[in-house]
């Protein structure tokens, strides 16, 4: 898409270099742990070695004897203020600090406050906790079985470990379609727990100013306003009032959904600061981060796909067990306990479908939503793209041909899916065909046949996903009751420069640049002259934050609409200055000119100056606008990814030889930034497919709780990603854009699995669960008699 503005203005479509970079490349970023306040104390957390245990006693005298250790906070301390339990974003409850028992390994048990980081660490070692271990329940199937011991004994009248049952679709019609179908393929798949592991861990500095009664919390959060409101609701009874709570989200070193929930550490640090009257800093260690804060996935899926023998898909049904740990602390929109899982009909024109998800408690950390998943879309896409390949294998059809046969065709958009979504736009065949061309699909199939004859294992895997992002329309979307609009406030200064504040919060997505480009496109003010701010709840308009790829669809839209409101006022000012009526004016980027008299014009800068020095009588001075944007629908980015793998028959190691990603996110603000999001997203799609997993033994001991065993890919494991685009604008978005940040993490894993299964399909292999470790693959090779 050719940009409409000059490079000087740098509106949509320009690969403008980022405005946030100058501070980062100088090491002058301002991350939470960089901030030091006078008198600041340090907090470190004592954590449980047991997955389930009664707390018989907590002895703090040894810790308090260490000079510099000022306090040890326990559940008893917080219980005095009724802060020992807190609500989760899904309206469940979780402990801040326990008074009776711990429910997962590494759970917070007590917090040490000291004058230095090092003394706080010493204090933690000196706290003595006496535990009485209890039986551990980590198998979700056992936990949901009738008669299982009840874990949430804190919930009166709870007789089981069920959290929710959610279903969508027409069960009867779907079952009938299955009964009538020529072919049915079935698959069980487990998508294990993983962790975002942003390079910056979570943390905060809670600073309660006793004189002004104001609480400021510098926090690693993707959603500062939501946090502020939650704090006001949770701690209102101890005197914290929303106008005197300020959440500041400074520079954030990666979020990916892991910095959305309210973690106990934040609440404890706040309580400590309120009680002591000094700033209290808490920064997680990596092991705490991996072992205690929000995990992602942990879905046990059973899926079935019914089709005609010519490959036409007719129906889809699935049943899923969702292991949420001991509390549902996921950050889904409240009406969607399984997130947007119902996108699982994917890119295919399925006439009927039914999906059900059951959530269950276990002795594991709480959570569920994170890791670039778009609210469970990673799980949904894994389901549909895997079962589609299963069907192809069953019918002995080429998986690309099967997909092309079943794609929702462009003329059917907007498309109402069998599970209730209205997809805004799509051109699935276009994306897949481009991907096939880019990777040289036909030649690769030929090569595969030749290699197979020699006993070499090579596979090609496709994933043609539809994403669903931009939560969301107020009709259906809220978090704890707060609707999921987002916002932008723009103020133009007399000299034609601007400041724009948004309700979202970038953690690396480049909003300081892209939002400026949106405004530049609308107003013709150079993006370099638009200062973008986010993250300070004292100044930014209310928003729900940045996650689930929602920023461009919601806040970006708000920016465009606010800019248009400004343009409307600017038009009136221009008309006044030019002594014509507004209808006589035409707009071209950056100026209004008189129809037929292009020489008579006023630039936006001249208009801005006039707004303060010579505004029309009867009109307010100034040139600013606010917009709270309630999206009419979600947006549906999509893509086709093709992966080529080679498998080492001696070790089972999978090597990605090539990976082509064709993405469509509608109109693109900054192509360079979009590509960056795709590269990063693909890497976070490959990692769960091949390397990453958090698991528990039968005693609830975590495996993969440090970077020793939780394996983040380095530059050596990561292939050179190849990217391309198609552009199918969103018809309802103010500038035709869709979200994109998570597409690659959603689309990539099944492409890689499909490639590995494809490499082994001639041996009768039909599925492998991720992560596809060398050992797992090797066992299949051994079983099939082809291990070296």
């Amino acid at each position: 898409m050719q940009p409409k503005t000059t490079p000087e203005v740098s509106g949509m479509g320009h690969s403008m270099k980022r405005k946030e970079d100058p501070r980062f490349i100088r090491g002058k970023g301002n991350y939470v742990d960089d901030i030091q306040l006078p008198g600041m104390l340090y907090m470190a957390i004592v954590r449980s070695p047991y997955a389930h245990a009664k707390i018989k006693s907590i002895k703090t005298d040894k810790a308090l004897k260490i000079p510099g250790v000022l306090a040890v906070i326990t559940g008893e301390t917080l219980a005095k203020y009724n802060l020992h339990w807190m609500p989760t974003l899904m309206s469940d409850t979780q402990m801040v600090l326990p008074t009776e028992k711990v429910m997962y390994q590494s759970q917070e048990v007590a917090a040490v406050i000291a004058t230095s980081r090092y003394l706080a660490a010493d204090g933690v070692e000196a706290v003595e906790v006496d535990y009485e271990p209890l039986p551990v329940l980590v198998d979700p199937f056992k936990a949901i079985a009738p008669g299982a011991p009840v874990l949430r004994t804190d919930k009166k009248d709870k007789k089981d470990n069920r959290i929710f049952h959610w279903e969508v679709g027409d069960r009867t019609a779907t079952d009938k379609a299955f009964a009538d179908a020529d072919v049915v393929v079935k698959q069980d798949m487990y998508i294990p727990r993983i962790h975002v592991a942003s390079i910056e861990t979570c943390g905060c500095i809670a600073d309660f100013d006793r004189v002004n009664g104001k609480l400021t919390v510098y926090m690693t959060t993707q959603a500062p306003h939501a946090i502020r409101t939650v704090f006001a609701l949770v701690a209102g009874h101890v005197g914290l009032s929303e106008e005197r709570i300020r959440i500041v989200s400074p520079d954030i070193g990666g979020g990916f959904g892991g910095k959305v929930p309210v973690y106990p550490g934040y609440v404890i640090a706040t309580a400590a600061s309120v009680v002591i009257g000094k700033p209290v800093k808490w920064i997680e260690h990596r092991m705490e981060n991996l072992q205690a804060d929000s995990f992602a996935r942990d879905y046990h899926i059973h899926v079935e796909l019914a089709a005609k023998k010519d490959g036409t898909m007719v129906a889809l049904r699935s049943k899923t067990l969702a292991d949420h740990g001991y509390a549902d602390a996921a950050a889904n929109p409240s009406k969607f306990p399984a997130g947007l899982f119902s996108i699982c009909t994917g890119s295919y024109d399925l006439k009927s479908a039914f999906a059900e998800v059951d959530g269950v408690y276990t002795n594991k950390p709480p959570g569920g939503i994170a890791y670039r998943c778009s609210f469970r879309v990673t799980e949904a896409v894994h389901l549909i793209e895997r079962i589609t390949d299963r069907l192809a294998q069953e019918l002995k059809m080429d998986p690309a041909q099967l997909r092309l046969k079943n794609f929702i065709p462009p003329e059917k958009f907007p498309y109402k899916s069998a599970l209730g979504w209205e997809y805004d736009s799509g051109n699935y065949a276009g994306a897949l065909k481009l991907a096939m061309e880019r990777i040289g699909y036909t030649a690769l199939r030929k090569e595969q046949a030749e290699k197979r004859a020699k006993g070499e294992l090579m596979g090609i895997g496709i994933s043609s996903f539809t994403e669903i992002v931009g939560a969301g329309p107020s009709k259906h979307f809220d978090i704890l009751g707060i609707k999921m609009f987002d916002s932008c406030e723009i103020r133009i200064h007399p000299t034609g420069k601007a400041i724009a504040r948004f309700g979202t919060k970038s953690q690396g997505q480049g909003h300081e640049t892209t939002y400026a480009q949106i405004i530049a496109e609308e107003l013709g003010i150079p993006a370099a002259h638009v200062q973008v701010e986010e993250g300070d709840t004292d100044t930014a308009p209310y928003g729900l934050g940045t996650y689930a790829s929602r920023s461009t669809p919601t806040a970006g839209a708000a920016g465009a609409i606010a800019a248009r409101k400004i343009r409307d006022k600017a038009k009136k000012i221009a008309a006044y200055l030019l002594e014509v009526s507004p209808e006589d004016l035409v707009w071209e980027t950056g100026k209004f000119s008189v129809k037929g008299s292009p020489g008579r014009a006023k630039t936006i800068q001249e208009i801005a100056f006039a707004a303060y020095t010579n505004h029309p009588p009867g009109m307010e001075a100034g040139l600013e606008a606010v917009d709270y944007y309630d999206p009419p629908n979600l947006t549906f980015p999509f893509g086709s990814y093709i992966c080529v793998v080679d498998i080492d028959r001696g070790t089972g190691a999978v090597k990605i030889r090539r990976f082509v990603a064709v993405d469509d996110c509608g109109n693109i603000i900054n192509p360079m930034i979009v590509d960056g999001q795709i590269h990063g997203g693909l890497t976070m799609g490959m990692a769960p497919a091949l390397l990453e997993e958090i698991s528990y033994d039968e005693n609830g001991n975590v495996q993969g709780g440090s970077f020793m065993d939780y394996l983040l890919p380095t530059a050596m494991e990561t292939p050179k990603w190849e990217t391309d685009k198609t552009v199918t604008p969103s018809p309802h978005h103010p500038f035709g854009a869709k979200g994109v940040g998570e597409s690659a993490t959603v689309g990539a894993p099944p492409a890689i699995v499909n490639a590995v299964v494809d490499a082994l399909s001639h041996l009768g292999v039909t599925h492998i669960d991720i992560p596809m470790t060398p050992e797992k693959v090797w066992r299949l090779l051994k079983e099939k008699g082809v291990a070296e």
């Binding site: 090092y118 660490a121 010493d122 001696g650 390397l691 495996q703």
Partner: protein
Amino acid sequence: MIPAAFDYHAPKTLAEAVALLREFKDSAKVLSGGQSLLPLLKLRLGQAGHLVDIGRIPGLEYIKEEGGMLRIGGRTREAALERSEVIRQRYPILLDTAQVIADPVVRNMATVGGNLAHGDPGNDHPATMIALGAQVVATGPSGERVIPIDSFFVGLFTTSLKPDEIVTEIRIPVPPARSGGAYVKLERKVGDYATAAAAAQVTLAASGAIERVGLALTNVGPTPVRAAAAEKLLTGKKPDAAALAEAGKAVAQACSPTEDRRGKQDYKREMARVLAQRALKKAVQRAGGN
């Protein structure tokens, strides 16, 4: 993340260092590269009341061939091995090994002596040194003691070093003509310990048969494992596919790996077998064989 408190000493001479180790006995630990010790202390898994930093002592970092031996100073950094022309040209097995220890940044601090002295069967140099038939020179209160590599590794995290001894040199006999070696490591990602790894050093006779072979494995037992039975099977034989396969089977049997996230025991045994065969093949190629 934060170690418990300890005392720190930076002696300027070996004698001083040894005296400090003597004085503080079991409470003292040698700080060489620190890339194994400091991570342990940071996780508060190890205990040390005193760290004796040998980083200020001159004359402990060198790589030179002298008197029929390749001599490597105990404090020589892994990165120095990677940069050394001598190693690249004449001891590529050592380059193979150094290149897969941890990651390139860690290798700027990590030392060869430390890699051996830590006694971790997951470390990479031990198997290579066994294959090369190396000697470890330890300096203590009574001066230098030469420890043959086969007596050096005693148990899990235990070497035959005394608490008041420091590894000051590693000696490797200069291999005769028609020799070659290779180290092949299976790791889940760069920076990981080996799922299994094999070090092979061979000398070929004029006929092409194996005259001498050293074969050892990493991380498949509580200590590095010399595959002695496999070595015996190979000696005197032509290194063809059948011989390598037979040796491979013996390698698998020589292992006693622990099950962990890298794999169950049977997988690790099989990987030791596959990697040993690959290392042997490469060693033979480098020795001028097929």
